[in-house]
């Protein structure tokens, strides 16, 4: 049954669903994990409805909460499990879940380029991949990334630059990009 509290909650959070969902995906790189993270965020935010109604900009507040949930979970995960991943197995992982890649306007060349980019992104460190995706793909501004992650803007800038350079280097290895090794 829908009550007034639930209605108020939905009114506050629903406008931010698309952006938060994309953030969850960019953080986790996996659909199932992204949806778990999104779900956990909503449950936690519901418990903080009193705070939520007083906040001028719920979007960034929710995004920060999601980021913190992700970081907490990643720390626990890192301590509990040690596993190795064959980088070759990562190529194409998750790409089929992305929307539109089977669309008719995606020619083979474009699909292959994105697949290669996807595999290259997965070879970046988590910090570099997140920053480059948030900034260059999702359109977050530097100060928004700073607000979200707490990383100083100067560090965000340098990480972004290094992430692009590393990405260019990886793509250059397979001829996708005519990388200049000095980058």
């Amino acid at each position: 049954m829908v009550n007034s509290t639930d209605t108020a909650f939905e009114k506050l959070v629903r406008p931010h669903f698309e952006r938060l969902y994309r953030l969850a995906w960019r953080l986790t790189s996996q659909k199932a994990e992204a949806e778990d993270l999104f779900q956990e965020l909503l449950i936690k935010a519901y418990g903080k409805l009193d705070d939520l109604v007083r906040i001028d900009a719920p979007g960034p507040w929710l995004a920060r909460m999601m980021y913190n949930l992700f970081i907490d979970e990643r720390r626990r995960h890192a301590r509990r499990r040690l596993h190795t991943v064959n980088e070759g197995d990562l190529a194409g992982q998750g790409l089929d879940d992305l929307p539109g890649t089977d669309s008719p306007d995606w020619n083979n060349e474009r699909r292959e380029r994105i697949r290669t980019l996807h595999a290259a992104l997965l070879r970046l460190s988590d910090e570099h991949r997140l920053i480059v995706l948030l900034h260059d793909t999702e359109g977050y501004k530097l100060d928004e990334i700073h607000d979200l992650t707490g990383v100083p803007i100067g560090t965000v800038k340098s990480r972004l630059h290094r992430a692009r350079a590393r990405l260019r280097e990886i793509l250059g290895e397979n001829g996708t990009f005519s990388a200049d090794p000095s980058c």
């Binding site: 629903r14 909503l42 519901y46 626990r76 380029r113 995706l133």
Partner: protein, 185 residues
């Protein structure tokens, strides 16, 4: 690309950024948001109800728990250091809120002082000791005074499943295991 970047971007940066702009944006399936919202309000309401219950009865429950544990451990450990390896057949329990630190007081009673006892706490998945994130087993050496020894354990539930916390006190080749059921509500 945004003007804010022009001062630190070079041509290579711009080429990579252009490539990344073409990277697909993930979108949720049609009814995912509705389902997530329903689950969040149901689960959120349940946790709130539990929190209110705990607020109302928390003090009484906590006091009762500590007293029970004192009594239980006094009875079961009165023969320390000649500790009985048997495990208590009844298990005290506590309900804690998700991701909210909750201090549980374990009381160990010993008939004489022990200098080199080892205490090992085994935690179920999703229950942590504050200050030891991600660790399922925490061991340290301790000394026990004759009489009651109070050990406050600040527990944090990181998942809603709960489980059983085992605290094993060992001295020489003898030991006793105390069990505490932790529910998350």
């Amino acid at each position: 690309m945004q003007n804010e970047n022009s001062q630190f971007e070079d041509q290579d940066d711009r080429e990579i950024a252009a490539l990344l702009k073409d990277y697909p944006m993930p979108q949720a399936s049609a009814d995912f948001f509705d389902r997530a919202l329903v689950r969040a309000t149901h689960e959120g309401s349940r946790r709130q109800r539990n929190r209110w219950l705990m607020t109302g009865f928390g003090s009484a429950v906590a006091a009762g728990l500590v007293l029970w544990m004192v009594g239980g451990f006094l009875l079961s450990s009165q023969d320390l250091p000649g500790v009985d390896p048997a495990v208590d057949s009844t298990i005290p329990g506590v309900t804690i809120a998700l991701e909210e630190p909750h201090t549980v007081k374990l009381v160990f009673a010993s008939v004489e002082a022990l200098d080199t006892a080892t205490l090992t706490v085994l935690l179920p998945e999703g229950i942590e000791i504050s200050g030891f994130p991600g660790q399922r087993e925490v061991t340290w050496e301790t000394s026990l005074r004759a009489g009651k020894n109070l050990l406050p354990l600040k527990l944090i539930a990181t998942s809603p499943y709960g489980g059983e916390v085992l605290a094993t006190l060992r001295h020489d080749d003898r030991g006793r295991t105390f069990r505490l059921r932790v529910d998350v509500g």
